[in-house]
Symmetry: C2
Subunit: 405 residues, 2 copies
């Protein structure tokens, strides 16, 4: 009768943390590295830009020669060469000379500024300028972005599109990252059937957790295979044992309480160690976790909303940190638009619609009501020491979007 002694959320989360694993690393192509996590420091192999580079299309010249030029006081230059991107000029710019230069091309010797084409007119080799520039103007100096040999990104950095560009610029065609965790999701329940538009047998229910939990796993940068088994001890046991061989993490739904047909925790107890079972939270009280053959197993409720909340409370951080990506609930303060009752001694995760100022909880809180998650974009979290909030109180809010990979 595990549920009679509930763990605190903090204690349950600590038991998971204490058993945190990190995946192995692998070397992959830079083409595949978007949204992965670095498993090495990035040390630049090149300066970027590799030379003083023109930031504009225009004319490379000596800034001093342009001083005083204006719409009514034009100055004359002689064009001695032209440099396209990818080319360089063998010529050197002397006073009152100019070289046509494209964005991205190297600044020729002698020149110290680029005048934009808009402020000039040309007639053959004759250039007339109508504006002045200062030394260095429109030049991206060598290594202003990256200095060769410097560390530009730390191991454990999440690779967004901008990090990806920086890594490429530093010369990396391959990069070492943490492997994606392989998750086996075992759905238990004799009552479950696949989605169908046709009539469903009595006592049967459509299996929606296989979709929601798999999608949540994918939202954590991991991969997920699903297996559906009945509520028999032997079936669940052999599914868990097999999953331990091929997967990094096991998750189950259903069979977490203590009646006829609820067998998941019995299997964990038989094969390994139960870390906790039953947590003072709502929804999701029957949450459990354990270790089987050195693999973490999360046992979620069959009730869809309970399962999603349990995933958020326990599995998300574990999957992030398996890939060495730090994870914490980003809690922000919002004004509650309604009174929210809660019970001392229990942490409530209340589905809410929040914006940059307010939070309003979804009234229909049943742990089987998926619509309550569909209407929501956030949780209001009510701590175990709080008895709820009055209207207009500041409450702790976590946006679902802030939980994503």
């Amino acid at each position: 009768m595990f549920l009679s002694k509930l763990d605190s959320l903090k204690n349950a989360q600590k038991l998971i943390s204490d058993n945190q694993k990190v995946t192995q690393t692998e070397e992959i192509s830079i083409h595949d590295a978007h949204r992965r996590v670095l498993a090495e420091d990035i040390i630049a192999f090149h300066d970027s830009p590799p030379f003083d580079k023109s930031a504009m299309d225009g004319f490379a010249l000596i800034a001093e020669d342009t001083f005083g030029a204006g719409q009514s006081t034009p100055k004359e230059f002689k064009i001695i060469d032209a440099i396209g991107a990818g080319d360089f000029s063998s010529k050197s710019v002397d006073h009152n000379e100019a070289i046509v230069i494209a964005t991205g091309a190297p600044i020729p010797d002698g020149a110290d500024a680029v005048l934009m084409k808009e402020y000039t007119t040309t007639d053959g080799d004759d250039l007339t300028i109508y504006s002045q520039v200062t030394p260095g103007e429109n030049i991206s100096p060598k290594s202003e972005d990256i200095i060769k040999g410097q560390k530009i990104l730390d191991r454990n950095t999440f690779i967004r599109y901008q990090e990806l560009g920086l890594i490429a610029s530093a010369g990396y065609d391959t990069v070492k990252v943490f492997k994606k965790p392989k998750v086996k999701l075992i759905i238990t329940g004799n009552e479950l059937v696949e989605p169908t538009k046709a009539e469903i047998d009595s006592a049967k229910i459509i299996n929606s957790n296989q979709f929601t939990i798999k999608a949540m796993v994918e939202d954590c940068g991991a991969v997920c295979d699903v297996e559906c088994v009945g509520d028999s001890f032997d079936d669940v046991r052999s599914a868990v044992l097999k999953a331990c061989q091929d997967y990094d993490v096991i998750m189950t739904t259903g069979g977490t309480a203590v009646s006829k047909g609820d067998v998941v925790l019995d299997v964990v107890d038989d094969l390994g160690e139960i870390l906790f079972h039953g947590v003072a939270i709502r929804p999701g009280k029957p949450a459990g976790a354990g270790i089987v053959n050195d693999k973490m197993i999360f046992t979620f409720s069959g009730q869809p909303v309970a399962a999603m909340s349990q995933f958020d409370m326990f599995a998300r951080k574990y999957l992030f940190e398996m890939q060495a990506r730090s994870f914490d609930f980003q809690i922000v303060k919002r004004t509650s638009q309604l009174k929210i009752p809660s019970q001392l001694g229990r942490v409530d995760f209340i589905r809410a619609v929040s914006d940059d100022e307010h939070a309003k909880h979804v009234l229909n809180r049943g742990s089987g009501i998926i619509r309550s998650m569909v209407e929501a974009n956030s949780y209001i979290i009510i701590d175990e020491n709080d008895e709820g909030y009055q209207k207009n109180d500041l409450v702790n809010v976590v946006f679902f979007n802030s939980l994503l990979w």
Copy 2:
């Protein structure tokens, strides 16, 4: 000399909006529908739950019979059957009778409540209860989540994990969604080389835009193929023409200004229509867009930060709305921790590090400095009518995360 007459950001964005397209729809498996956009209303084929369902493991009984039961005033019942999940009982519960029931199992006839197992003891068929329940307690009533025949999700809804579960529960094994836009990214530039740890030829630069822009396209739910071509008019022209046949959208980087080797806008002008070229924004002034063979073509700068900002300003909304997903900058107000100068008549997108209260812009603003995007998590947007802000002024902030698919 397009750049001499700059469009306003608003006008440029309107020109793109006026040419917005939406992809065709396709019917896909519910297994593949996560993070797609619905192209049909979802009308429930089933009630969910399909019957009055037990929300707990315990005993189905008549609530009235439990009234007055407590730790020191136990009451006695006779157990007449047991129902596992997926089963149902042919028996009906009469006064002072109980049926063992698992979470998810249908409530038997006669019973109107479930008493949790924790509050009972049993001895064979004899049940002793130590707590009372109210009618309906621990029962998830039929159709509390979904009512058969009702519309539960609208066309154009983005399918997060929770919507996915709801769609499955409604009986959909396949679902109609908008196709992913196919984007061809054409990288122009004779100066560009692939990432390499080896020495790079003089005047050459590593091609990082192919990675950043492709990753940004993927962050908009679209797919992207990349082709790198030189700066020749003919090469760019044939790459664009070919892309028009096989792709929904074309994007280019480089060749957007008006000097030797800058040919992209000439190609657009030759093959179709330039919508705009040159916008009063910073970074990203040379931004352009056009229509070729009825396909939108975005012409981004070669400068990496300019290209990323142009993508955010112009392409992101277009790709979202191609899939019928609404997109708007989610602008929030934050306190600027530094003074920010800006120029009237131009919209500035300033890279910044922001949190739930403050915004602090990254000081190094060069449009080639990828590190400035790496350090940032947000833009401070300064409107064309603003001359900048003082320290502690409230400024408009857009978080990069809020721009993601």
